[in-house]
Subunit: 369 residues, 2 copies
């Protein structure tokens, strides 16, 4: 672990905090802790970052010596649960910084209610602020070290896809295909799945968040393979569709439209281009074929510590621009047509000065078994 990388990220965050008039920023979730402290093996920890000066961490006392040895923060204390909660320990640290009536920023959707409740009993709830935008915008621009880790995860995801496709045939259970995929990913260096493996078939392919179970694949069905891998905290994912035997003609057509739309989208991806224009390139293909009203408004997300980061999103409503060294996936949604819909494909793409590099390069046509 290179402490300097993480300490520079904290300095970058502190500058953004100063611009936003935020006194304290709390880092509580696993992804942000990894990003700012370098710790992968982390649970029950918080980092408290003041707008100026040294940040401090607090962790479960049992893990203290490990955390001290493996963390970019210089000052860490242990809290002795159940005598003291992590929220109470955070309050101690904030008070020591001595800001009168501090403006405290955190990621509202990741702070547990217990910590929130402890904070509002000790500080002015009216001064609580959202740190989400600052943090996610910083995380969106990947450093070379991060691109490297995402690439490693991508290689493992590709290995998993190949292993999964190789065992698909009528009668095999989704879970058996998933077992093969996850094993191949781990043997190729993945440290576990970033989301529950979505290898699903038949009408389950229409669900937004399905996962593999004991359902058997049947001839005449499609199998959707949405596979992720993780390397040193960083994720990559790809999605492909397999036709098992003869599938309905409209499903085949929908896949080929999505394939064409993805290609149009990739060609439109240039640093500096508003993301809604990139979305439009894909959307026009879908609309030209008459499926526009069955297509969702967001077609891609940032990929990094999280498989779907909150910034950038590639979609119709967003005016901000794609930037160099963002990593995103396109194109996520299917054309949602009950009974018929379901085919999907997506890749993890790195935006660089020349356009995009597909980190999950794997044949993109409909796979026929």
């Amino acid at each position: 672990m290179n402490k300097v990388i993480h300490q520079n990220r904290i300095k970058h965050l502190q500058k953004a905090m100063q611009a936003a008039h935020m006194d304290i920023c709390l880092i509580l979730d696993r992804e942000n802790l990894l990003y700012y402290t370098g710790l992968e093996q982390v649970e029950c920890m918080a980092a408290v970052i003041p707008r100026e000066g040294q940040p401090q961490g607090t962790t479960l006392w049992l893990d203290l010596s490990w955390i001290q040895a493996n963390c970019a923060l210089e000052q860490i204390r242990g809290y002795h649960f159940p005598g003291k909660s992590i929220g109470e320990s955070i309050v101690d640290i904030i008070k020591e910084y001595g800001y009168p009536d501090p403006i405290i920023g955190f990621e509202r959707y990741f702070v547990g209610f217990g910590v929130y409740d402890t904070l509002r009993k000790n500080f002015n709830e009216q001064k609580f602020a959202s740190a989400a935008e600052i943090i996610y915008r910083q995380r969106a621009i990947k450093e070379p070290d991060e691109i490297e880790k995402i690439s490693c995860a991508a290689k493992a995801a590709i290995a998993a896809m190949a292993a999964a496709v190789a065992v698909i045939k009528p009668g095999v259970r989704e879970i058996d295909i998933a077992a093969q995929a996850e094993w191949a990913a781990m043997k190729a260096g993945s440290q576990g799945t970033p989301f529950r493996t979505q290898i699903v078939s038949g009408n389950k392919t229409l669900l937004t968040h399905p996962f593999s179970d004991e359902k058997e694949v049947k001839a005449g069905e499609i199998v959707l393979l949405h596979i992720g891998a993780r390397y040193q905290g960083y994720t990559a994912k790809l999605c492909r569709t397999v036709a098992v035997g003869v599938i309905p003609e409209e499903q085949r057509k929908i896949y080929s439209i999505l394939r064409e739309a993805q290609q149009a989208c990739i060609e439109a991806m240039q640093p500096g281009r508003p993301v809604c224009e990139i979305d439009l390139a894909a959307r026009q293909v879908i609309e030209n074929y008459g499926y526009g009203h069955q297509f969702l408004d967001i077609i891609g997300y940032g990929v990094g510590l999280r498989q779907s980061e909150f910034y950038p999103m590639i979609g119709k409503p967003f005016r901000y621009s794609l930037e160099r060294d963002m990593v995103v996936d396109v194109l996520l949604p299917s054309i949602y047509k009950p009974v018929v819909g379901g085919p999907r494909l997506t890749d993890t793409l790195w935006v660089n000065q020349d356009g995009v590099v597909n980190l999950t390069e794997y044949p993109r046509d409909l796979i026929q078994i």
Copy 2:
């Protein structure tokens, strides 16, 4: 899915709500949704349970037809995100029930801040209540169907343990052992790991929440294998310790003390017995050997939809009793002695009229490689 099982659980919950003077109970997390609605493939859904009458659900519109076909609730609506949030849809439903100034119960540590914020803008925050105790006490007593599912998960976890132990040798990476374990679990019917597989070696065994990475196992180290499996939402887990070659004498001694303490604990487990007495049976063994001050205050947890349920906990501070058809694990903690500590073992145990049945029966002595 047997709708009657889940509908009976809702009736049981409604009785407990009436006793607690709660008007509405919100079910938002995946585990409780499975418990009360029967849905495994669920995300972005809520169930709203009134103290009397029919409960209602709300789900992402895309999944509505699937949810309607697979859910024990008779009334489900779809909310059309991003136009409407799940919190807003919940508010609509609660208002339709027409309780003036309702007492609304939910699990405070699982409700996202977004939903909480929407709720408090629409209802009296002073009337919000915790539903945690009602729900977790109900979940603690397992029905025959649940014991069966936990047993299936346990069989998969045992298969994973055997597969993992078989590949341990100096030079092998933790992640390769984990790959073997997870594959074997899935082939034996597991639908994925309930927690990140903890197959860790050397000084990582002292961490409270470690997971497998690229570290290589060395001769003279111990390997800790804490393995879980999941079947139809239900989990089981077991933990064993492997000595690779010659390990320090004190580590060997600590494992044998833990082994003896676990046995004493199992023998003390009888329905009706206060959990602090069960804890004491184990604790006295540890104290007799002089390690009492390095042993944690909680030595076991309920096991079911969650690998560590919030009720019961087997520990020093708790006065409630063990009951028939609880499923718990003992004995989780190590003796925390820096550098030396780390060995652990645990099993998933079903408490029945005769005492306990070990669902994860697998040799419990220190495994020597």
